[in-house]
């Protein structure tokens, strides 16, 4: 769990490592405490295969450098800050079409029918703008959600920070980092070798090994 305060030159980064999630749901509760969307939890917490495993996985907005959600928004309601944070939809503009919900490659934005609005994680702007850790990362006991400097990560964690993803032919670079062991192997191809459903073969054990 992290709770430090960062200075303006620290350049802290957000890191998500789904493989470390222990499913405590602290992030789900903490997310609803975020000042910019109080009462609404916008983080996703999936059960990988409820029938055979307790494994869970969180998903926050990855804050793409060229956000698909913003590009497909007909109302031009999704803006990016100078720091690269893709903000939730501007309330006066969002017309509730759900284009962003359906186009986001990470499956992040939520359409809230009561408000007729899209809402999504804005990396706790109220906290990060003051050097504080985002709510979810501040309560994550397994550091699946982590916020700190790159140097700190290298000193205390294993694996490499990585932020290039491949969705079919589309490469996406994000502000949020993930963790992988083999950084030299290129972008994280989300479709590589994953042809089964979670229920059929959650860990890809039954797939043929590559020749």
């Amino acid at each position: 769990m992290r709770s430090g305060q960062f200075g303006i030159d620290d350049n802290p980064v957000f890191v998500i490592d789904q493989s470390r999630c222990i499913g405590c749901e602290a992030c789900v509760q903490a997310c609803a405490e975020c000042g910019t969307h109080r009462g609404q939890s916008l983080i996703h917490l999936e059960r990988v295969d409820r029938a055979t495993s307790t494994q869970t996985a969180p998903m926050v907005c990855m804050h793409c450098e060229d956000p698909t959600c913003a590009q497909v928004c007909p109302a031009d309601a999704i803006k990016q800050t100078e720091e690269g944070i893709v903000q939730t939809a501007l309330k006066p503009r969002c017309i509730g079409c759900s284009n962003c919900v359906l186009a986001c490659p990470f499956g992040v934005p939520k359409y809230v029918a009561d408000f007729d609005q899209m809402m999504k994680c804005d990396m706790c702007t109220d906290r990060t703008s003051e050097g504080l850790t985002p709510m979810c990362a501040s309560v994550c006991p397994s550091e699946a959600l982590w916020y700190g400097t790159i140097e700190e990560f290298r000193d205390t964690r294993r694996g490499s920070l990585f932020r290039d993803f491949l969705f079919g032919r589309q490469q996406v670079r994000t502000k949020v980092y993930t963790v992988i062991d083999d950084a030299l192997a290129g972008p994280l191809d989300v479709l590589a070798g994953v042809t089964s459903t979670w229920l059929d073969d959650p860990f890809g054990l039954d797939m043929e090994a590559p020749s």
Binding site: S19, Q55, R93
Partner: protein
């Protein structure tokens, strides 16, 4: 972006000029060849003309963005599909989506109240000011009775009223009523913006500018009444100039700032028709879990729009990543990441 941002958009320019021509024609014809046009309001007319040009220009440019153009087309297609039924549904949609704004009340009652106060205050002010400015509305004495007036819309005489009656008071103080409504809303908004850390964190300069503009217009307008009723007209000329300036600047700000959402928001009606039509069409089925997750039409529309805005989610060997449901997208990312760190745990 292939077009230089420095170049004016021709279609936007054309629509802007059409808007200006319509306003000028309306003024000329509506004021009976300028007979009832009040020259003292010429500054306001300039503001209205600029606002109409700016709004039409920006609207035309906005409608050309690929996702906006697609939604605009689909919204109208959906409306025409069942025209009679959709026309019948329109008043209810306008009432819920545009006038009563219940979706804001569900977010916060204070925000809804503030928005309603500002909304109805501005509508009232616009209904009075714009026809007056264009010379479409004027008042005439009834016969020799100085305390009775008749409302004229262009050359057509409509209702008569006693200046001393409640109706008369409202007629001459409608803009004061509007100013009080707007000010009440502005103060509620300001209170939230200055006290809520979440609101302050995502504050944009435009949020305060819009509130400051509404405040300036309302207060300077109320001071005109204060001057004429209680100060025997002292400072009226200076106050009048200040008020005119705030209104004209406000009108000029309309196309550029936060208040442009007034013109964007009706797009929500198109979305409502689009969603209703899509609900009755075939669903899109997730390529991974096989479950329906959206309308096939919207997914097809997105797949058409995405290449136009520079994205290629097609999959080598066939298929498209956009045919995956959001939940399975999160699954894909999770499984791929865990595979690159040697599995879960």
């Amino acid at each position: 972006m292939s077009r230089s941002a420095n170049h004016l958009d021709r279609r936007g320019l054309a629509w802007g000029l059409v808007g200006v021509a319509v306003v000028i024609a309306l003024t000329f014809i509506g004021s009976d060849r300028l007979v009832w046009f009040d020259a003292a309001l010429v500054g306001y007319l300039f503001g209205v003309v600029f606002a109409v040009f700016g709004v039409a220009y920006r609207y035309a440019v906005w409608l050309r963005r690929p996702p906006t153009a697609m939604l605009n087309r689909r919204g109208w297609d959906a409306f025409r599909q069942r025209k009679a039924r959709n026309v019948v549904a329109l008043p209810s949609l306008v009432a819920t989506h545009l006038l009563t704004q219940g979706f804001i009340r569900k977010r916060s009652r204070a925000r809804w109240l503030a928005h309603q106060l500002v909304f109805w205050g501005c509508i009232l002010a616009g209904l009075v000011t714009i026809p007056l400015t264009l010379g479409l509305l004027h008042f005439e004495s009834v016969g020799q009775r100085a305390d009775h007036y008749q409302v004229y819309i262009s050359r057509v005489g409509t209702m008569k009223f006693d200046a001393e009656s409640i109706v008369g008071w409202f007629m001459f103080h409608a803009l004061d009523v509007a100013a009080v409504l707007v000010l009440a809303g502005v103060f509620i908004f300001l209170r939230r913006r200055l006290r809520d850390p979440g609101a302050m964190a995502v504050e944009r300069s435009g949020d305060f500018l819009a509130l400051a503009g509404l405040f300036a217009v309302s207060v300077s307008g109320l001071f005109l009444t204060v001057s004429s009723m209680w100060l025997e007209g002292r400072f009226y000329s200076a106050l009048n100039t200040i008020h005119a300036l705030t209104v004209i600047l406000g009108l000029m700000y309309l196309p550029f700032g936060k208040l442009f959402h007034i013109f964007q928001r009706p797009g929500n009606l198109g979305v409502a028709y689009y969603k209703r039509a899509n609900d009755q069409g075939a669903p899109a089925v997730c390529r991974r879990c096989g479950e329906p997750f959206a309308s096939a039409q919207q997914i097809a529309d997105l797949k058409e729009v995405l290449p136009q805005v520079g994205f290629d989610y097609s999959i080598e060997g066939g298929g498209n990543y956009q045919d995956t449901c959001p939940r399975c997208r999160r699954a894909h990312v999770t499984l791929a990441q865990s595979a690159r760190v040697g599995g879960f745990g």
